[in-house]
Symmetry: C2
Subunit: 200 residues, 2 copies
């Protein structure tokens, strides 16, 4: 019995195997840290882009650049806000289950967490890609289409958007890592009859 | 012994459990079909966008729209070509192992397939998001930044790019499904000592 599984009411199982227990505890701690990081960086990115604006007087005309001028930046702010809120809730769940010292082996819950993590990772990555594409147009323009660059006029605005996108990129990479961890937590339940039964 | 695992030389294991065998065979068939679909749709998307161009005479000036005018479309063509080639190779591997009637339980190979599938899914999704963002600018323009829309001039060009992006979107959704399947194939090896040992 090197890795026995005790099934308790409410579909909660606790590993008693030495190695697996240590690995699981480390993974749980890593998950809490990563979800907290998403929370902080997601809020930072949303604030950096969301409050970003710059006024400029060009030929006596007052012009203003703000993040709502590009729909991709609005999408980025919303995606970061959702990712931060979602990670806050998931971080709380992880902390509570870690403090209780239990490992959830409920397949339905594992499927729900896996699905949400996957969706969040793909949404964040799509938001970063779209915002990065918009920023490339802003930074370099597209001379073939007569789309002029704007970052030579709104330097401070573009720098702050760049910082927001960099922060969002880190959020999406962490989200990708977490979605891999939740895939591990879900699919290892299908590894043997033990796992299968513990989920029922 | 409802799902015994026989370990054969070369880290190849064969399930003899009734249900698991049927599920595994169905998953293998589904994987081959999905990888073939990526192959066909990826080539279709790359060709649709890659050969797309349109000439237009505007105020006696001959103007030409081609996919290289937008870097995001070049990225989309390359991503589709890589996805199609990769899926062709993986489809061949799946077909061969299906014909041999064996299920690979080599952890190193499972990790390699999982990693490549994940990278392909994220790259395809990023490519589609960036291309879609560029197309939105082309279709609607961005009046706040004086970026005028171009699709009223190059209708045929834009329609064909749209078809290419739609095809790429399907490719990326299939790639997401396949990356889920390869996560299942990998992480179930960690479900019990059986799975662990069979991979060593």
């Amino acid at each position: 019995m090197s890795s026995g599984v005790v099934v308790t009411p409410g579909n909660v199982s606790v590993y008693h195997g030495g190695n697996l227990k240590v690995i699981d505890r480390r993974m749980r701690v890593a998950e809490v840290v990563l979800r907290c990081a998403i929370c902080v960086l997601g809020v930072l990115a949303a604030v950096l882009v969301g409050i970003d604006k710059q006024d400029k007087v060009i030929f006596s005309i007052d012009k203003k650049a703000k993040f709502t001028d590009m729909k991709a930046l609005v999408f980025l702010v919303i995606a970061n806000a959702i990712a931060a809120s979602y990670s806050f809730i998931q971080g709380l769940r992880c902390t509570v289950s870690m403090l209780r010292g239990s490992l959830l082996f409920n397949k339905t819950l594992a499927w729900a967490i896996f699905s949400c993590d996957q969706i969040m990772a793909y949404v964040m990555l799509a938001a970063v890609a779209a915002a990065a594409q918009s920023s490339v147009f802003g930074e370099f323009g597209q001379s073939e289409l007569q789309w002029m660059k704007i970052c030579n006029m709104y330097e401070k605005f573009c720098t702050q958007v760049g910082e927001g996108i960099a922060s969002s990129l880190v959020v999406s990479l962490i989200m990708v890592t977490i979605s891999g961890m939740s895939a591990f937590n879900l699919f290892r339940l299908y590894g043997s009859n033990k796992g299968k039964n513990s989920g029922r």
